[in-house]
């Protein structure tokens, strides 16, 4: 059976969490207190992560379909698996369209969106055909570059002269209400999206350390998101950060150091490209696996090929433009994620009670 190491799992989680979130100012509704929203949501997300990592402890090396079949029975498990597969497909269309549109906007403005999306998907289908091992190994190679570039971007912003920490003051100036309002959204996106890893846990070679690796990876990625949020607000100010389409790009464009370090938007594009690719790939792989199990097959290659080649059309059909995608994603999408992120909590309770009563 194909397996991934803990380092590869760590790399997958970090890239998945950082993925599209560097493009948004998370918790922007709380304006200058957005970083507090991220911090509180991170603490709350530990409960969700505990639930997600508790399930494989009861069923080590068993896939999500087998777990559902065992605890709910086939009749209840199949429709749930179908819903999860559709949810993963929906998330992959979101990520896929968003990154295609952003790449088109920033790097390839004269290339039709469909061409950009197909260039993306051909590579993705190829990697996913090779399996989770290749996905894990490739991100293991890219992650140090991603980290280096992110840290360089934050550092250059801090020394650029535009960095004003006073933009973050006063802390909780508008009370705690705006912070509380934003917390459910940020718990859903990006932390609740970790639910996709339920279909991946069984590939990890040593099942014992899954929780530890997940907690470390989420802590590292939250630290990065927190710095990103502080940098965005300190450089752009709370108002501009909230209204900006891609705060990362705006922030990078404001760096001018000695006429040498300037026009650094290419750094932003690199971060978008790596993050977007892997986030879409993980969601799409989650869909392919769930759909394959639903059809009682063992090889996901046919699903990856057929739906992979249809994914650009599905994405373009679902979203008219980037504003439309943001509207559907940020208005209703986050609550949708929250629903699917909380379902495993009930599943875990069923598993626990069932095991207790059978003893």
């Amino acid at each position: 059976m194909r397996q991934i190491s803990h380092i590869q799992l760590f790399a997958l989680i970090v890239t998945f969490e950082i993925g599209s979130t560097t493009l948004f100012a998370l918790g922007a509704g709380a304006k200058r207190d957005a970083w507090i929203v991220v911090l509180v949501s991170f603490v709350l997300s530990f409960i969700l992560l505990w639930v997600y990592t508790e399930i494989p402890k009861h069923y080590p090396k068993q896939n999500f379909s087998e777990i559902l079949n065992d605890c709910l029975g086939v009749i209840l498990a199949k429709p749930l698996l179908f819903l999860y597969s559709m949810y993963f497909l929906g998330q992959s269309t979101h990520n896929f369209y968003e990154f295609g549109a952003l790449i088109q906007m920033t790097a390839l403005p004269r290339t039709p969106l469909l061409v950009t999306l197909y260039l993306f998907i051909v590579v993705m289908v190829y990697i996913l055909h090779k399996g989770i091992e290749v996905l894990g190994r490739s991100i293991e190679i890219f992650l140090p570059y991603l980290f280096f570039i992110l840290l360089a971007a934050y550092f250059l912003n801090m020394i650029s002269g535009e960095f004003e920490l006073t933009n973050l003051l006063p802390i909780l100036g508008e009370g705690y209400q705006p912070v509380l309002k934003e917390i459910p959204k940020v718990v859903g996106f990006p932390f609740g999206e970790m639910v996709v890893f339920l279909v991946i846990w069984h590939y990890v070679n040593k099942q014992q350390g899954i929780r530890k690796t997940t907690y470390i990876a989420v802590t590292v990625s939250t630290f990065s998101l927190l710095i990103a949020n502080i940098v965005f607000i300190a450089v752009l100010g709370a108002e501009l950060t909230a209204s900006s389409e891609i705060p990362l790009l705006e922030t990078m464009l404001s760096v001018h150091i000695a006429m040498i370090f300037t026009n650094l938007d290419i750094i932003g594009v690199f971060i978008m490209f790596i993050g977007g690719f892997y986030k879409t790939a993980i969601h799409f792989y989650g869909f392919a696996l769930a759909f394959t199990w639903l059809m009682n097959k063992s090889n996901a290659k046919w699903v990856i090929t057929i739906f992979g080649l249809a994914l650009p059309f599905l994405s373009i059909f679902r979203f008219e433009n980037l504003d439309d995608q943001r509207w559907k994603g940020m208005e209703g999408g986050v609550y949708n994620i929250l629903v699917y992120a909380l379902l495993p909590l009930i599943i875990l309770l069923i598993i626990k009670i069932k095991q207790k009563t059978s003893k």
Partner: protein, 45 residues
């Protein structure tokens, strides 16, 4: 207080989202019923 900005306009514009949202909520209710069943089964065993 959690704001719920899910409007009819949004659900009409994205029926797929509506399907996922209501499907997920319906399943949450079903799973809660299953959970209650197992709790009672444990109590009255």
């Amino acid at each position: 207080m959690i704001p719920m900005p899910i409007t009819m306009e949004l659900l009409k514009a994205d029926p797929f989202l509506g399907f996922l949202l209501f499907g997920g909520l319906a399943y949450a209710v079903i799973l809660l019923l299953v959970l209650i069943y197992y709790i009672f089964k444990g109590i009255f065993r």
